[in-house]
Amino acid sequence: MKQKLVVIGAGMASGRALEHLFDSAPGLFDVTLFGAEPRGNYNRIMLSPVLSGEKSYEEIVTHDAAWYAAHGVTCRFGETVTAIDRARKQVVSVGGRTPYDKLVIATGSAPFIIPVPGRDLPGVISYRDLDDTNAMIAAAQRPGGRAVVIGGGLLGLEAAAGLALRGMEVTVIHLMGHLMERQLDPAAGYLLQKELASRGIRIHCKGATKAILGDGRVEAVLLEDGTVYPADLVVMAVGIRPETRIATDAQLEVGRGIVVNDQMVTSDPDILALGECAEHDEQLFGLVAPLYDMAKVAARTLLAEPAAFRPVQTATKLKVTGCDLFSAGDFAEAEGREDIVLRDPARGVYKRLVLEDDRLIGAVMYGDTADGNWFFGLIKDATDISEMRETLIFGPAFQGGASADPMAAVAALPADAEICGCNGVCKGRIVEAIGAGARTLEDVRAQTKASGSCGTCTGLVEQVLAATLGGDFQMPASKAVCGCTDLSHEDVRRLIKSRALKSQPAVWQELGWSTPDGCHICRPAINFYLLADWPLEYADDAQSRFVNERNHANIQKDGTYSVVPRMWGGVTTPAELRAIADAAEKYRVPTVKVTGGQRIDLLGVRKEDLPGIWHDLGRAGMVSGHAYSKGLRTVKTCVGTDHCRFGTQDSTGLGIRLEKLLWGSWTPHKVKLAVSGCPRNCAEATCKDVGIVCVDSGYQIGVAGAAGMDLRETELLAKVETEDEAVAITTAFIQLYRENARYLDRGYKWVAKVGLDWVKSRVVDDLEHRAALIERFELSQSIYRRDPWAERADARSRRDFAPLADLTLEAAE
């Protein structure tokens, strides 16, 4: 009969141990996996990117249902083990008793809660699992929300940065004199504090929490010095303690953690422990790298193979986009130690190396951490550095001649240099994998696990690929906006909000643009982000717009333009048609065409005639149709109840109402709407960015449709009873798109990225959020709901649209 293995805790350590076990001896054990969380294993360290919105939960799941099924693991998620009956070799849980032959305890840690009054108030949470993360995300949705984070260590700062990116006003209270005092020296702590402060995060060092105040819910945090910070959310991140309760109850040997030997075996030979709950050689471990080593050893022990756990040095990085810091080893000042320091105040760079007996024993860096892994390797290997002492601080690229080639640094790394700290993968292992056929980042990840955990070494792994494969490896065209920056659209959007950047120069300067004023790719995007986020403060910049949007007409291949006036909901009048006909004749328009958007296109107008034709059309009451804009285009309608025998609601009226509300607004890409009066759908509403289909009982609002290069049917966002609700949800949806999508992502692409459920939660389910979106849309429309043609139909514009000078006469002389 198969041996029964029971595992308590579905966390990072146990997940890795099971992988090793199944790799070496599939089918040896019948495995039952208990987890207190109602879900399987996920990459806990990536909760910070989930909090900041850079990743979704789905992306950080490490083992899915299919994996458990394939390996025959019986999953008992959401079920806490309450006792271990060592005499009968059973574990006890709500589901009853489960027998084991071998037991693995991997219960991780529990957050430490400081024992102050008010710690139990709703709104006080810790930062440990997905539920905590989701609670923070939910709290951040309330506009103007305030958060206090207690604890300025790694976890607290990642929480603070994430909450700030999500728009909360954040204060960090830290007991010590500088941030992350266990990993950073005061100088680096200062730079970090300055960076966080510049993102609007308030930092209160030397602050001791006295009480959490609130009546039924958290309202504020009171410090010993009397300071009071109002708070809608309090995150406690002051430390963790190993989760040892069931082990203590079972009378296993427990110190600060569950005591294990080199083989990960506890005081009971059939029980192993690993992860943060375990204590080895009087030491506890709180980073994944050593835990993964433990997992390897535990798996071998279960297979009755020899193995011994030897703790390794760990290095620390902070996973906050834009805060580059690295620390490793020991950097306390002491007799016989010597410092080498490099500062570049202009770039905000600080590097400090600590030497003892010609060896590097510690390194702290801020602002430029590219050489971190190289220094870390020197520390671990206790390399004699006397030869390169003078130039050591300039990093590996400098040893043996300066080199500007960024790849040189990685190429120069020795085979045993560690690339991936989490998984302990060195360069040699990656090169080996490449030798065995790995050609892409994914290949390397699958074969070595390098970059599979926290992901901060992804760039290095890619460089190793590039250095090893030469021309055969295409460095990924980074997801950067363009060549002017390394930041992605998502990063830029967040930073514009969180750092309150309100002008183009502020963006270039603060985000380190490499060009003086951007290029044709980034300028239109930045211009849109700024006007969408700061409608009142930022003035739209015509010179950062594509020709069509600058000239408010579509340029044609011969340099002439097309002119499309708005026809609200596709409805026109004889007077309008007459004015169009007159204008077409007066300006000798070569082509008059009915568009696919239920209006009329005048094609082939000369640039200098644009203000004139706009003036004439405007006189007849017509405004720009924005057929050229990343903005609201058309609202197509069918005839509806007014005429059609099948019509259920006033589809024409609703379409006109929507168009009058939404016109003039700028959006990440174009936005098209349609309203059909019944499911026969004559207005083709089911392939629009927003398409409303009227039915007897109300309105079905579909979103994320398209009929261009991709053909997409809309997905149902909501079904509502009244026209007012349909209008409100449509407006909120468009504002959500304006605030969140990356430039040039059409609605359906954006919805596919964020998920329809997320959209629903904001514009359908959460009425407060919906109202706030509508309010912000209206605020923006107070500036933009205007006719750009009317503003350009005067004499001044006629001059601007004409050539500066005409020299044809002079030249002929």
Partner: protein, 110 residues
Amino acid sequence: MSWIDVGAVDDIALRGARVVKTAQGCVALFRTAEGDIFAAGDRCPHKGGPLSEGIVHGRAVTCPLHNWVFSLETGQAQGADTGEIPTYEVRVKDGRILLDGAGLAKAAAA
């Protein structure tokens, strides 16, 4: 050289452009963010796009039709594209833009 006054510097927006019609075709006058003025042919060698309608960045302009980028200093296409636009002598005096008429004529004759 024969300098022709074609208009005021302020008639061109910063990072903007205007055209001057000549017997040889349109000449585009560009004004960079720093306020420098450049003159070059308005016709993109790719498919004739009007460069004066492009986005001006640094000392370069991007064609509005298919995004070729040209240096305003040398007239050379940048990056992977190859091609060239003529550039012309231009001067600024007392806020007025002066274009070299002789140079224009020579370029046409060449």
